[in-house]
């Protein structure tokens, strides 16, 4: 592999709701082609960090850089262009319930491209086929199962061939086999599309299987306490909190081996 190219850089990021600080002084870099895991216990601000990265919430302090461009300092127009290059899979899919799956995926394509209806239709079918939902174009989100909704949400997130794909708890609510298939799909998509992937999860199996970089948020000190490849973290970290988390609280740093 060639030298890593920084894709998203987070510098001195402090996140807060009003006066209530969620996390402070976050510093990490997500490289192009990474599968980056945001981990930490419940309530440590993982999803809030995701909202900062995708531009739904502005930082209280610090910067989020996309290929060197500060997301919040740049103009509205460039921010919109940046956001178009981002795909987000929300926790429960967040499909628009009044539209069919095909319409859900076609909406961003119709808004941002000059493609003909036939071309849009073909891209929609391709995206649905990619997530294993071929033939479900005419279904409404309420007519399919939760796992299918999640995959359809992924198809919509991929509609515009994004450079970065964000996943909020992709395996939550999925059976173990479906969760593993989704992990494989994420790997496959990273390889085929060359996209950078950011995953918020506390599913250990999936974290070790796909992640090659990570940040660990701690709810007590309200900052990051570790980072790097999850497997390396498990084997080498000296921090008892990290080890407890990565071993489901079953082991401490001393009895690792």
């Amino acid at each position: 592999m060639s030298a890593p190219v920084p894709h998203i850089e987070v510098q001195d990021l402090t996140m807060a709701y009003g006066d209530f600080v969620i996390q402070r002084d976050l510093n990490f870099t997500i490289n192009r082609g990474d599968i980056f895991i945001i981990m930490g216990g419940s309530g440590c601000g993982k999803s809030t960090l995701l909202r900062h990265l995708v531009g739904l919430k502005s930082p209280a302090r610090g910067r989020v850089l996309y290929q060197g461009v500060d997301f919040w300092q740049t103009g509205d127009k460039q921010r919109r262009t940046l956001m178009q290059r981002i795909g987000v899979l929300y926790q429960s899919g967040a499909l628009w319930s009044s539209m069919t799956l095909a319409e859900n995926i076609a909406l961003p394509l119709g808004e941002y491209t000059d493609l003909s209806e036939r071309e849009i239709g073909e891209i929609v079918s391709l995206k649905l086929a990619l997530v294993g939902l071929a033939g479900f174009e005419a279904y409404y989100p309420s007519e399919i199962s939760g796992g299918m909704r999640k995959r359809a949400g992924l198809a919509r997130a991929m509609a515009l061939d994004p450079d970065v794909l964000f996943f909020d708890e992709p395996s939550a609510g999925l059976d173990p086999i479906s969760a593993r298939l989704l992990d494989e799909l994420i790997l496959e998509l990273r390889d085929s599309l060359g996209a950078t992937i950011v995953v918020v999860t506390h599913e250990l199996a999936s974290m070790f299987a796909i992640g090659n970089n990570s940040v660990f948020l701690d709810p007590e000190t309200k900052t990051q306490i570790a980072g790097g490849n999850p497997v390396t973290l498990l084997n080498e970290s000296a921090d008892p909190r990290v080890i407890r988390f990565l071993t489901r609280g079953e082991r401490t740093a001393e009895e690792r081996r």
Partner: protein, 383 residues
């Protein structure tokens, strides 16, 4: 051979070479992203000789960039060639494209998943409508039955709902509605007085504005206007609240805990609105009369004492009673319509919107129809 005559070195191009020994080969060059124009598939397919000479191969070494549109282009080409019996080998494509094609084909289309939209005959459509109507009636009766049972349980003191909920709904449907009811009632009284006065002035009988406004407000408009405001304000709120609870599976949670949602959610709302409507009605009556008085005193030279005197002599207790009975019925109908549409709501955001809309429409229709019936009955009874 490029298919587009205006092709530049940057634009997407697909060059077909027919080699009798090695089979056909397509060489791609340029930028194959959705922002540009892609060569037409049909024209390319037509260039293939009738007799297939082996599989089609690709050479993508000169391709500058590609995205999903390129993949769909390849799939469309594959399909078109398959109908002519020509196979396709993907190994000359960029690795990512090969991966995506493999992924797209990994899960075969589930049999019977695709929907074929067929147009139905008029007889079928009429049949469906009638069946839908029957279903609606059945659901309405079932809901009324459940509410009646819950009400009976309440009378025997066995119904479970929280007193604090009831108090909250009484506040929401009573006190909180006062400002809007005040505004509308004053204006309605004003309008009634104005229209009436212009006609009565022809006979020099302006003083009868008081009779007209008094009787109209007390018997009819007070109850009616308060009801229509509450249908838009509270009926819609009830159905949206219950509909959202249905979407969030909160209603299912009540059921699995053995708590009857009709008892717990519908009953307090129903009681609150039915209790508050007559009070709102009296309040609306009063303010309507004040509105009429403003016009009478300000524009038609009637003294306040005269106006009040006239109103008191014109409006009887029976008139007030008729208005209050009506308002109780209206309150019941609004709450029933709102709660029923909410409880029977579908499980999506748009279903909640539909429920709220149809709750308001149903409530207003019910108000007007029941008002007509009650007016006829009052007329027949001579009250």
């Amino acid at each position: 051979m490029p298919t587009d005559p205006e092709i530049s070195s940057q634009a997407a191009a697909a060059e077909l070479k027919i080699d009798d020994l090695q089979g056909p080969l397509i060489r791609f060059s340029g930028n194959w992203e959705s922002s540009g124009r892609l060569p037409a598939v049909d024209a390319l397919v037509r260039q293939f000789p009738d007799r297939a000479a082996g599989e089609l191969r690709f050479d993508s070494s000169a391709i500058a960039a590609w995205d999903s549109l390129f993949v769909t282009w390849i799939l469309r080409l594959t399909e078109a060639l398959q109908t002519r019996g020509i196979g396709v080998a993907y190994d000359g494509l960029p690795e990512g494209v090969q991966g995506l094609i493999a992924l797209a084909r990994a899960v075969p289309e589930r049999k019977g998943a695709r929907r074929i939209s067929e147009t139905e005959g008029w007889l079928t459509r009429i049949g469906r409508r009638v069946q839908g109507l029957l279903d609606d009636t059945r659901r309405l009766l079932a809901f009324l039955g459940e509410v009646s049972l819950a009400f009976a349980r309440m009378l025997t003191g066995r119904a479970r709902f929280r007193r604090s909920d009831l108090a909250l709904f009484i506040q929401q449907t009573g006190v909180d509605a006062l400002p809007i009811v005040s505004l509308i009632s004053v204006l309605v009284g004003l309008i009634l007085a104005f229209i009436g006065a212009l006609q009565l002035a022809l006979f020099g009988a302006q003083v009868y504005i008081a009779n007209l406004v008094g009787i109209a407000m007390v018997r009819e408009m007070g109850a009616m206007m308060a009801a229509i405001i509450m249908a838009g304000r509270t009926g819609a709120a009830f159905s949206a609240q219950l509909g959202t609870m249905q979407v969030n599976e909160e209603i299912d949670a009540f059921k699995t805990l053995g708590i009857d949602p009709v008892e717990f959610l519908v009953l307090p709302r129903l009681l609150a609105l039915t209790l508050m409507m007559p009070l709102l009605c009296i309040y609306a009556d009063l303010l309507g009369i004040v509105g009429g008085m403003l016009v009478g005193i300000g524009l038609f030279d009637i003294s306040p004492t005269q106006y009040i005197e006239q109103t008191v002599s014109a409006v009887t207790l029976t008139d007030i009673g008729v208005g209050m009975v009506k308002s109780v019925v209206f309150g019941l109908l609004i709450a029933l319509a709102g709660c029923m549409k909410g409880i029977q709501c579908g499980r999506s955001a748009s279903a909640v919107g539909e429920a709220a809309t149809s709750a308001v429409v149903a409530a207003i229709v019910a108000i007007v129809v029941s008002d007509a019936i009650m007016t006829l009955i009052a007329n027949a009874l001579g009250v």
